[in-house]
């Protein structure tokens, strides 16, 4: 540990039995990883990486509605800066608000936001990061590209298994205070789920929804947030979608919540939870998946061969000490 | 004298085209071949026409890989007549002696017997001739005469039931000449058309059973400068006109899929008439994703069953799936050639006329 400390230089600090590494730039992170690789050491409980010094917070780009932030910046700090410019990161899940930018962008589920019609889009319009092998990755500019494989995807949502994000250009949206809730009841939970999917596919972007069984029926309470006109438009659409599937309007709801850990869940997971008489709370609702409370933990799915291959290629020496 | 550069223009347009009709060609779809797309075949033909490559066996087989269905033309913003052009270019294969075997043998048979079956048709037609006056002289087409007498029986019976009695015309012993045209023997086709036109002089109006024959008489003859002295109608058109006189009968409890035969639909514009007839005869009609002007092809045209027999059947199999994925659905077509192709592909299929006959005969 001592020689490692010396080799790492001022970036490293001894804390208790272990080390804390606090790189302040990409270059420093590259150097840190090089030393760890050389010494066949890994990040982990003993050698901890602290990205809080990657703390640069850029200016709000009002036209593109983006803001570049270092991986160590707390998401709440980004939000507060965005709010000053009347922008917001949007309706994130509670867990996301507690994360740093790096954790947010690397998280397999939190790294994506839901957009019309029920699609997912990376929260980061662009990232800079360092792969475990020490090479830098900077994503292509522009909102979308057809410029080869998406290299940013090695890091975005990658759980820090192949490399680490050092900074991200985060997508924002206008900050509006209109918020409305609606409660609908359905004959079955399958109908409630179908209505929810139909609403998403039709273009509703709700911030949160709670689905729960009540007196033999399933009720869905949907919260919409945004510009007043947009919320009104989407509320009407939501009502029509719900009615189309046989739902009945039941008033404004009462801001229900569901306890438990947040997980990324498929619609089958939601059906299973509701089928067992549970309640679910949905954040970041998309047709592909949702972030939810009230769903059971997944069985451990062994990482696929592609992922294993990528880890072997980029982190041959397991310097990141991460991943399954 | 300006040389006729139209085929060259047509093939040049395709060569520089971004394959805009790429998905349309049934032969290309059935063979999964880029070279046999309308673009591929026309690009190859262009090279022959401009002298960039000689007409060899390979190129000859490519220009023969076309049913002349016209689906590409329907999708083409230039309405480029690929089928017509490729059939013209087939003439170069005849000249170069590199015709595919099936096309060469069809041509040889035709030249001997004046029909593609090598049969003496006069006596066959005589055996069907009506014993009493009829309203519509009927031209069944030689393939029905030779291969499907039951269809002819149904036609005659049905026409009677619709109050529009038909009887086989004397001119029916002539083949319309389509095989010559499809083999690229354009001059022989022209001469044959003129001979047929003479035989038609005795009838002011004729009802044609086979959509391919009707298309040939109505659309292809003018291409070689021949206009028939009589009015040519399809049997379906005549039946449609007389539908109000059809005997009352409840629709058959059958779910059928309708196939727009190329020569009947795209060729002669008859989309609504067969549907109107069908909607009376059965309880449920399913439609394919692509219908009417954009409908698929059953693989029977352009000598394809002779030059690429397996491909022709595969074309039919795919079109049958397009019309109805479930094999239990009966496929109905207004063209006997299409019906035969569906049957060869192992599907339940019936001619519209035969189905109508079943419908009216229940009463």
């Amino acid at each position: 540990m001592k020689t490692l400390l010396q080799a790492l230089g001022p970036v490293a600090q001894a804390v208790g039995d272990g080390l804390v590494l606090r790189p302040a730039s990409e270059r420093e992170l590259v150097a840190v990883l090089a030393v760890l690789r050389d010494r066949q050491a890994s990040l982990g409980a003993e050698v901890m990486l602290d990205r809080s010094a990657l703390a640069r917070l850029g200016a709000v780009q009002d036209r593109a509605m983006t803001l570049e932030a270092g991986a160590g910046v707390p998401v709440r700090v980004v939000e507060s800066k965005a709010n000053h410019a009347r922008l917001t990161l949007g309706p994130l899940s509670p867990m996301a608000w507690e994360a740093s930018v790096g954790e947010l962008v690397e998280h397999p589920a939190l790294a994506f936001r839901a957009v019309v019609p029920g699609r997912l889009e990376p929260i980061a319009a662009g990232i800079t990061g360092v792969l475990a092998d020490g090479h830098l990755v900077r994503s292509a500019v522009g909102p979308r590209h057809a410029a080869g494989p998406d290299l940013a995807s090695l890091l975005v949502g990658g759980g820090g298994a192949l490399g680490l994000v050092t900074a991200a250009v985060l997508r924002l949206m206008p900050l509006h205070d209109a918020e409305q809730r609606r409660l609908f009841s359905f004959g079955t939970f399958a109908q409630a789920l179908e209505a929810t999917r139909e609403a998403l596919s039709a273009g509703v972007t709700f911030a949160r929804a709670v689905l729960r069984g009540r007196a033999g029926r399933t009720v869905g309470e949907y919260t919409l947030r945004g510009a007043a006109a947009q919320v009104d438009r989407e509320l009407e659409l939501l009502a029509r979608c719900a009615e189309h599937v046989g739902g009945r309007f039941e008033g404004l709801g009462r801001e229900a919540e569901v306890d438990g850990p947040e997980r990324e869940a498929s619609w089958a997971d939601l059906a299973s939870a509701l089928g067992h008489g549970g309640s679910v709370e949905l954040f970041r609702p998309a047709l592909t998946s949702v972030i939810a409370r009230g769903v059971a933990a997944h069985e451990f799915i062994p990482p696929g061969p592609l992922f294993k291959g990528l880890r072997a290629a980029f982190d041959r020496s397991h310097v990141l000490g991460r991943g399954p | 004298m300006i040389a006729d550069r139209r085929p060259e223009q047509a093939t040049s347009t395709c060569s520089f085209c971004p394959k805009a009709c790429r998905f349309a060609c049934p032969v290309s779809e059935a063979t999964h071949s880029e070279a046999l797309s309308a673009w591929g075949k026309m690009s190859a033909a262009h090279q022959v026409l401009t002298g960039a490559r000689p007409m060899g066996a390979d190129l000859a087989s490519a220009v023969h890989a076309c049913t002349g269905c016209g689906r590409c033309t329907a999708m083409c913003k230039h309405e480029n007549e690929v089928g017509l052009t490729l059939f013209q270019v087939r003439g170069h294969a005849v000249q170069a002696g590199v015709q595919p075997r099936g096309a060469a043998s069809t041509l040889a048979t035709f030249q001997q017997a004046q029909n593609p079956f090598g049969r003496e048709m006069g006596s066959l037609v005589a055996s069907w001739r009506a014993q009493r006056p009829v309203k519509y002289p009927l031209f069944p087409g030689c393939s029905t005469l030779v291969k499907r007498p039951s269809l002819l029986e149904h036609t005659l019976a049905l026409s009677e039931a619709f109050g529009a009695p038909m009887g086989v015309a004397r001119s029916a012993s002539k083949c319309c000449g389509y095989p010559l045209y499809a083999a690229g023997a354009m001059e022989a086709f022209g001469a044959h058309a003129r001979a047929v036109a003479e035989a038609f002089e005795e009838t002011p109006e004729v009802a044609v059973l086979d959509a391919g024959c009707a298309f040939t008489l109505v659309k292809l003859y003018p291409e070689v400068g021949v206009r028939l002295p009589c009015r040519v109608r399809t049997v379906i058109d005549v039946l449609h006109e007389n539908l109000p006189h059809a005997p009352p009968a409840p629709p058959l409890a059958e779910r059928v899929g309708y196939h727009d035969a190329c020569h009947l639909g795209r060729g002669l514009g008859q989309y609504d008439e067969p549907r109107a007839l069908l909607s009376k005869a059965v309880t449920a009609v399913v439609e394919a994703p692509s219908i009417r002007r954009e409908g698929g092809c059953a693989g029977g045209g352009g000598l394809l069953p002779r030059t690429m027999a397996e491909t022709a059947v595969e074309v039919a199999r795919r079109q049958a799936l397009e019309v109805a994925e479930e094999p239990s659905v009966l496929i109905v077509s207004g063209c006997p050639t299409s019906t035969r192709m569906f049957e060869r592909a192992g599907r339940r299929a019936i001619d519209l006329v035969s189905l109508l006959e079943r419908w009216v005969s229940q009463s």
Binding site: A64, P108, G142, A147 | S33
Partner: protein
């Protein structure tokens, strides 16, 4: 190749061709440079053979044989790419995927469908439409491109502002890596990176796609069109930006620059063209010569013609909202309010409907223009809102030295949009034309990227943009090289493309 022939033939059960016809037909895509060559009587080097595998295992066997014999393999969709992606620059074997042509049933609960890589776009969309669904992916090349080609080149359709690009529609992809291993990417939720996104866009250099599970949506109940005339490109761009900022998601957004507006502005119903095979002999002989002369005198002098295009200032802006009828109408009203506030003049639904009717017609202009001795090409890039106008101005300025430049803006997002430039040029000789073409691309792409755009929004890289792409990656090219080593260790897959 000859030694491998027997082995290959065995694994694809005879579906191999060395016929010149097949090799030539697959040996080029629709890269306009190859059309220039065609005019000169040249063809790109054809592959040695074409194979048509029909199962993932067959593809895997083909790859393994190619690895043993060090044969290049080029995946082939329908050859509608415009960047030379399927050119057999190192010879080898074309792997035509069109036997992967199944369209599975739509899963109405999960709203998805399994599709083979060789399915043609238009066939797929028609089949879905007949069942009441849509993929929402309508590239102008829908009639001539395959699902595999879309995946390989990150294609975008005309309705991408709502439905996203193809990579947004993918639930999972399957295929065979350059190692010969079969793969299927996991569906959400999963741990670790989204590997599908790492493979999408690889243009045949990392893997062969054989199929995908794609998101589908119910067919829209209604479509609402509206067009505006805006005083300038800047105002039009600002209107689009505001529309997206307000959370509106029209399916179609198209802003034509003033010169392009003069083309679309003539949105009269198209008069039926005379089929080339129907033209009189005189038209067929004399017309091409006249057009050629005209092209050289006008398009061959872009320096004279381009300034004229600056005289026009007003731009046309088209929107289309689709989906549930009342919602589409409500979105349309909100869009109208945003555009009117930017000085837009409401032109009603006519121009939008007309565009929709003729949305694939652009394909039809190509043959006439090419026959007339011109070159024509398009460059599509995207940029964040701050850079969009600058990219527009810089490219026009630089490219204007070589060709007539038109531009429209489509595929809009909350953070930026794509710019779609059309270049039409000519020259006195074929050599001069080709030279100009090459210079034009170097200059235009350089100008675009230095002003803040990426190298491609949806056409991909191929050979055409390989160098610019590699330059744009900076240090990221190491990551790309690592992916190449991992997934295609012997470099047999589509060598030369993406600069790999």
């Amino acid at each position: 190749m000859l030694e491998a022939r027997g082995a290959l033939e065995a694994v694809v059960r005879g579906r191999l061709s060395t016929r010149e016809l097949d090799r030539l037909a697959t040996g080029r895509d629709l890269w306009p440079l190859t059309l220039l060559w065609l005019r000169q009587g040249k063809v790109p080097p054809p592959p040695d053979a074409v194979v048509w595998p029909g199962t993932d295992d067959e593809v895997a066997s083909v790859v393994r044989i190619a690895r043993e014999r060090r044969l290049a393999l080029i995946p082939f969709g329908a050859g509608s790419g415009v960047c030379g992606g399927t050119l057999a620059v190192h010879g080898g074997v074309m792997v035509d995927l069109k036997r992967f042509d199944t369209i599975g049933p739509v899963d109405p609960v999960r709203r998805c469908v399994d599709v083979g890589a060789g399915v043609m776009g238009e066939t797929l969309e028609r089949r879905l439409a007949a069942r009441g669904w849509t993929l929402g992916h309508f590239p102008s090349s829908i009639g001539m491109s395959t699902v595999g080609g879309w995946l390989a080149a990150r294609s975008a359709g005309q309705l991408s502002s709502r439905y996203g690009k193809i990579e947004d529609m993918v639930l999972s992809v399957r295929g065979v890596l350059g190692t010969g291993e079969r793969f299927e990417t996991p569906e959400r939720p999963f741990d670790g990176p989204d590997v599908a996104q790492v493979l999408l866009g690889s243009e045949g250099t990392l893997c062969v796609f054989t199929g995908a599970r794609l998101r589908v949506h119910p067919r829209p109940e209604a479509r609402v069109f509206r067009a505006f005339e805006v005083p300038s490109v800047e105002r039009g761009l600002e209107a689009i930006r505001r529309v997206f900022r307000e959370g509106l998601r029209p399916a179609v957004v198209r802003l034509y620059d003033p010169f392009d507006t003069t083309f679309v502005g003539r949105a009269k119903p198209a008069s039926p063209r005379k089929a080339p095979s129907k033209r009189s002999a005189l038209e067929a002989t004399v017309l091409p010569g006249v057009l050629k002369r005209l092209a050289i005198e006008t398009l061959g002098r872009p320096g004279l013609v381009n300034p004229l295009t600056r005289l026009a200032t007003r731009s046309r802006l088209i929107f289309m909202c689709e989906g549930e009828a009342k919602h589409a109408a409500a979105e349309d009203r909100a869009i109208a309010a945003a555009c009117l506030s930017m000085g837009g003049v409401d032109l009603g639904e006519g121009p939008g409907r007309e565009w929709y009717r003729k949305r694939y017609d652009v394909n039809a202009r190509l043959p006439r223009l090419m026959e007339a001795g011109t070159f024509i090409d398009t460059m599509e890039v995207s940029a964040p809102w701050d850079a969009v106008f600058e990219v527009y101005e810089r490219v026009r300025e630089v490219a204007g030295a070589y060709a007539l430049v038109l531009c429209h803006f489509s595929h809009a997002y909350a953070d930026g949009c794509s710019l779609y430039f059309s270049f039409v040029g000519s020259g006195r000789t074929e050599a001069e034309i080709e030279d100009r073409y090459q210079q034009l691309w170097r200059a235009a792409l350089g100008a675009a990227t230095s002003a803040g755009a990426n190298v491609s929004h949806h056409h991909g890289i191929g050979l055409l943009k390989a160098r610019a792409y590699q330059d744009s990656l900076g240090e990221g090219r190491h990551a790309l090289a690592t992916l190449k080593r991992l997934f295609d260790p012997d470099g047999i897959l589509n060598p030369g493309k993406l600069g790999l």
